[in-house]
């Protein structure tokens, strides 16, 4: 599924990722943990094609297709979805309009027909109900005036609507209280499937109690410095990142 080899990337000529290698097979959930400044968010932006993130070496492919050569929207159409750490507010664009425009753009890019309005609304109603989102909220400008928890729930709603092949969750637990965390995690877990891979980026182990990873990787100073099973997350929670920071240095 997702295959990253020796990835080097810079922001404003400053190297952030320095030879990152990672394989996430279909059907698995991998967690990336690491201290602040390790390059966690940079990895999510490099994979999704944000401007200003320059790849200087290495490769990233999804099912063998080169992601790095594609525009951000082309990667989205291939099925790469990023749940943002800080979802944007889009004044004047109702959430439903935003998602429908995005969905149809993806469909068009894949050579599929646009979704019909009744089918779209039915899907939206069902998905909103499963995430305990008030349908009326979807008629309001996307994320404008929403709380941190509501914004994260909207990210998961968009994810469920767009049904991507590969999910990247960037610090999805930040700003969530325990109830919101449970709802969001249930939404993510509902998307686990043998065809789908997930990369869960987080600073804390807490999220991984709800979204159980198959593998945990420690990212420090732009490289994966340790990998293990779910127990690695507990070890990090108990002992901190200090020894990995030293390893990387």
């Amino acid at each position: 599924m997702l295959s990253i080899k020796n990835l080097h990337a810079s922001v404003a000529d400053k190297p952030i990722l320095k030879g990152l290698t990672l394989e996430v097979p279909a059907g698995e959930v991998h967690a990336i943990m690491g201290p602040n400044g390790a390059g966690k968010s940079t990895l999510s932006y490099v994979l999704t094609g944000r401007q200003g993130y320059e790849v200087t070496e290495g490769s990233a492919t999804l099912n063998g297709e080169d992601l790095l050569a594609l525009e951000a929207n082309e990667r989205a159409a291939k099925g790469v979805f990023l749940s943002f750490q800080y979802p944007l507010e889009i004044p004047g664009v109702p959430a439903l309009t935003f998602i429908r425009t995005a969905m149809n753009a993806q469909r068009k890019a894949r050579g599929e027909d646009e979704i019909a309005a009744p089918a779209f609304l039915k899907l939206a109603r069902e998905t909103a109900a499963s995430l305990k989102i008030d349908f009326e909220m979807l008629k309001r400008s996307l994320n404008v005036g929403f709380s941190g928890g509501e914004k994260k729930r909207m990210e998961i709603f968009q994810m469920a609507m767009l049904s991507p092949r590969f999910l990247i969750l960037d610090e999805t637990d930040s700003g969530l209280d325990i109830d919101a965390l449970k709802i969001v995690s249930a939404g993510v877990n509902a998307m686990r499937s043998p065809e789908r891979g997930m990369l869960v980026i987080t600073h804390y182990q807490r999220l991984l109690d709800y979204i159980k990873p198959d593998r945990v990787h420690v990212l420090s100073a732009g490289r994966i410095v340790a990998s293990g099973g779910p127990e690695l997350a507990h070890e990090l929670e108990a002992e901190g990142y200090d020894k990995y920071v030293q390893v990387a240095a």
Partner: protein, 346 residues
């Protein structure tokens, strides 16, 4: 000094120039070497942008009034009127329209500037009076030729308890000024002055407003938005004067512009001149680029960069459109704006 006086006399020395502070961003004297002669009236076959709404229609072609040049709404009457100022020839022309809404009357004025074929120099003067308790909503669509030079000036006089609302939408011209001067009596009268300019290529538009609050208890709300690309140039001059004794005035002015290219320009001069003590006045003015983070967010969901920009730009202008009260006019305005923003490309 004004364009209409210059056109009537043929004297270019009477054109407004940069030496006049109010015209420094819309210099006509330096632009116009010679004033063209007027052209004859012609019949026009096509319909105006508000045709679907219906109502009475008054048409000026090359400055010649086909119908009466006065609209009067009697007390208690409800009227929808379309006025179309059309230039069909490269010529100089002037037109004048008087509008009177008597006490308690209601008028929706749908005004369009159309230049289907050739560019012209035109000056339009409107004298608008809304008497006590009257209501008027004016919606202006200015679709000029790129080489046109147009000045439209409205003098608005309001009675006690009147409601006056206007929305100006323009794609600019070689030089274009739409000016509104409002004599605001206070006295529970409410004024809304909105506008949007959508400029591409080398087009210019100048939205100038002067509101003078002369009495207590008046409200004014203004929202102007601009989208400027290529080498377009937008000008916003908004002045609100609160005269001595015009207490409890509530006046709010907002002007926000998006600049979508390095060579586009926006000049803004919001002014609040307050000579009364007990007032609530505020203005906000921003000029900036589209939010790159928001563009990436939309692209990450699958939209192309052009689609993302068009969506964000349309939403930005949408705030002005949403404030149009007349349902039919609002949707026509929305379609028009969407077409302009989609068609302009990147």
């Amino acid at each position: 000094m004004s364009l209409s006086t210059a056109l009537k006399t043929g004297d270019v020395a009477l054109l407004p120039s940069r030496r006049d502070e109010n015209w420094r961003w819309t210099d006509l004297r330096a632009l116009i070497r010679e004033l063209p002669a007027s052209a004859a009236a012609e019949s026009v076959s096509d319909v105006g942008p508000f045709a679907a709404i219906g109502g009475e229609e008054q048409v000026w072609v090359n400055g010649h009034a086909r119908d009466a040049s006065q609209i009067t709404v009697e007390a208690g009457e409800v009227v929808t009127a379309q006025v179309r100022f059309i230039s069909t020839r490269p010529s100089g022309n002037t037109a004048r329209l008087g509008v009177r809404v008597r006490p308690g009357g209601r008028l929706v004025l749908l005004e369009s500037y159309e230049a289907p074929a050739d560019a012209a120099i035109s000056a339009v003067d409107l004298d608008i009076e809304v008497q006590d308790g009257g209501r008027m909503e004016r919606i202006v669509l200015a679709a000029d030729q790129a080489q046109s030079i147009t000045v439209s000036t409205a003098e608005v006089t309001l009675g006690a308890g009147a409601v006056y609302a206007q929305t100006l939408l323009t794609t600019g011209a070689r030089r274009q000024r739409v000016e509104t001067r409002v004599a605001h009596p206070g006295a529970g009268t409410s004024v809304r002055l909105d506008g949007a300019y959508l400029l591409a290529d080398q087009r210019h538009a100048d939205l100038t407003t002067i509101v003078t609050h002369g009495g207590v208890d008046g409200t004014t709300s203004q929202m102007t938005k601009g989208v400027v690309r290529d080498q377009g140039r937008g000008v916003f001059q908004g002045r609100i004067v609160v005269e001595p004794g015009a207490d409890r005035t509530d006046a709010r002015m907002g002007h926000h512009a998006l600049i979508l290219s390095d060579r586009a320009e926006v000049d803004a001069k919001p002014e609040l001149l307050i000579f009364a003590d007990d007032v609530q006045c505020a203005h906000g003015n921003t000029v900036g680029a589209l939010d790159e983070e928001a563009i990436f967010y939309a692209m990450q969901r699958g939209m192309s960069v052009d689609q993302a920009r068009a969506m964000l730009t349309t939403a930005f202008v949408g705030e002005v459109i949403d404030r149009i009260e007349h349902d039919g006019a609002r949707e026509i305005a929305r379609d028009w704006v969407t077409r302009q923003l989609d068609g302009a490309g990147e």
